[in-house]
Symmetry: C2
Subunit: 142 residues, 2 copies
């Protein structure tokens, strides 16, 4: 819970740029009654503390033909399977996110593919390493 020197103002700034990282410092400053430069200094601090890890975009897989959004929990069948599975998942372009987990399963991952066929093929490959449980995303609410 090392809270570094983060205060309420930093939180508010962080929320604003999570929402839209292209807000100018000046615009954010107007919301919180500061100059843009002061906001810039705080954002720089958030970067240096690595609370902000990087800048990216929200993009729409469906509009690129990735119509299937699968949330997959993986149960490896043997301890030896880990390195191979990791290599597989890291290198596979359909895997958008991968976590080691405890609780249900060994890994959890997010996969985007374009159709059922591609999903089936992916799951076939996955069977090499162990078992899985799949949920298909039907719409993001938040």
């Amino acid at each position: 819970m090392e809270n570094y020197g983060i205060d309420e103002i930093d939180y508010r700034i962080l929320h604003y740029i999570i929402e839209d990282s292209r807000l100018s410092h000046k615009e954010i400053g107007e919301k919180i009654h500061m100059t843009g430069q002061a906001v810039g200094a705080r954002i720089r601090k958030l970067r240096e503390l690595e609370i902000i890890e990087g800048y990216t975009v929200r993009w729409n897989p469906q509009k690129l033909g990735q119509n299937i959004h699968a949330l997959i929990t993986v149960f490896l069948s043997s301890n030896k399977a880990h390195p191979l599975f990791q290599k597989f998942a890291l290198e596979h372009g359909s895997v958008a996110e991968l976590h080691r987990v405890s609780g249900e399963g060994c890994y959890w991952m997010r996969v985007y593919v374009k159709d059922h066929e591609e999903l089936a093929s992916f799951l076939d490959q996955l069977l090499e390493f162990g078992n899985y449980r799949v949920s298909l995303g039907m719409g993001q609410l938040k």
Copy 2:
């Protein structure tokens, strides 16, 4: 698979800005042998097509004291529970992501909390609506 007018160059640009949305158009242009303005026009097109939905940052929940990253599948006990559950999840600050799913469960969500106590309290509230399965994130690999 409505591919709009997206070509290989657009894909490359998109990958670059998913990686780092603060790359200047000029820098991207150097990688793909174009001027910054041409890159800017393509990015504008990606925004207008809503392939790029918005700009945001990658941030580190742990450094803000949100030490627990829970991946939760929710099984609602009754059809009547949906509206209330949705309201609960949408309004609860710990819920970072929420999807309707088919397959395992009714909903899938990502939750950040600071400790086990907070998680337990959250799960208690969740029990009002139905059942759940929890996995705890132990490290992101991708």
